[in-house]
Assembly symmetry: D2
Homo-oligomer: 160 residues x 4
């Protein structure tokens, strides 16, 4: 089967790769030489780059676009995260990173992310993101359309 | 005050820098241009590199030396970690990373790490490390001398 | 047109992408968030990671496989390199990196590499690689089959 | 001798470290775990980060400050560079990176950089930087005070 890189994978494509249950967003990539450390496996910090890359894509798709010099929209800040390393990643391995919203409040939300390779879950990352006003004046409420999407597409629940 | 980089800081030096309480191991460094991302602050994945660097030093000091091609001693693997981002880090800022053992079991232990800059706690990282035999045959028990050190120097407690 | 990532591109596929002349080896990838620096373009050091990644693949294909812990074969060392930055790379841009042998001597060879994106040459890198014996006892001669391949496939010339 | 990190080293301090001749700017640092690759030495791309870090400092000292979001001053772009790798760098090694202007034209200049460790020259990097107007309207002439400094402090020569 040809693996489609750098492109959102359909639920069917995710299922064929053994990713269960399918995630709202999933994209494939491949381990590079520069990501290995002196122990010849992917360095623990590189996982955070992979997860972040998909979060950037996810917030763009949700309409919370991370502004790189732009003027409007919230500033999206990572507040905390918990990573579990299940099995190491090696040179040239193909992998899929997933992202979906697990829960949300007025100005923050929780994402659940997974890393899959060769039909195995290799790592998970759960993090809390906070929306801030670009001018630093305080929190930025999650827009109604985004809250709807979190519930409808991702099955996320609002928290008190 | 001249900040001593790349050298373990005494409890007194840590106190002068506002680090309270002092940690079993603390070393200073400075933010570099290559650590900034497109948002002009230190990227969230870079924090894990900083914390890892001090963990490598810490396990060397403890006598659990991470072997880079060597034959003896355990293989030290990170199992999980939780990071809290408290305040962003900017270009050229000086910082101190700390490390100490919070608790341990037979073949694993928990480290508590902090990032300090300008008298403020900027981030914390709590992680679980596991010791494995180099030949892959299973877990590697924490040596008695290391357990003693965890209790005596770091004030860590054994867990059931 | 669907761009095939992480896979050697045929001369025809290279031509369709505007890469002229086609290179002995060419593979596609996409700019990631973590590769941008504080100026919001791909950092100058990241180009060297991209070029290195394709060199590793190239030496594997040539049968000069970079050994990561293995026992046989030469150690491949980069001696020098010259990079030209022609046009900056931005977030999410798709690109192709190429690699081919330009010339060779008894124990060293010169590679010419290019970076293409959106039909434009964005950067070039010319470097000299040296083969060393794994035991550090001196230079390692380029095997006859590899020399033949350099001439036959890449059109490279032996130098005095 | 205590090595002073992250601070410009005097010509005398450079001489004591075996750096000959002393450079207009030199700063010390130490190899980190995250800079090693799967071959257990510093990766070839990391050298460019080290050199870049000192160039940023150098242009700040020269008054050509790299603007990170600021409004005035030129945009400084690297046009090309040639690196020579002389001897590999290993874990925890202390090193000094140098920077000085070798020659200049109206809107561009050449920097010569060296990497020293343990009294040995480990690598050199020669690069051409170009000044551009922030609004993209063309080249930005090197200010008279900077040209004077290039000649007076660095001994650089103007080129036709």
């Amino acid at each position: 089967m040809t693996l489609l890189y750098h492109t959102p994978l359909s639920p069917e494509a995710q299922s064929e790769l053994g990713i269960a249950p399918p995630a709202p967003l999933a994209m494939a990539d491949q381990v590079r030489f520069s990501e290995l450390d002196a122990l010849c496996h992917v360095n623990n910090a590189v996982y955070l780059q992979w997860f972040e890359r998909l979060r950037v894509k996810y917030t763009q798709i949700c309409g919370l676009s991370r502004n790189l010099g732009g003027e409007t929209g919230p500033r999206i800040v990572i507040r905390s995260g918990t990573i579990h390393y299940i099995q190491e990643m090696l040179m040239d391995e193909k992998y899929v990173v997933t992202c979906g919203c697990a829960a949300f409040r007025n100005t923050s939300f929780t994402l659940h992310q997974e890393l899959w390779s060769d039909g195995q879950k290799r790592a998970t990352f759960d993090c809390v993101l906070v929306l801030l006003r670009q001018d630093g004046s305080g929190r930025y409420p999650i827009p109604e359309a985004v809250r709807d999407r979190f519930m409808r597409v991702d099955g996320a629940q609002p928290e008190a």
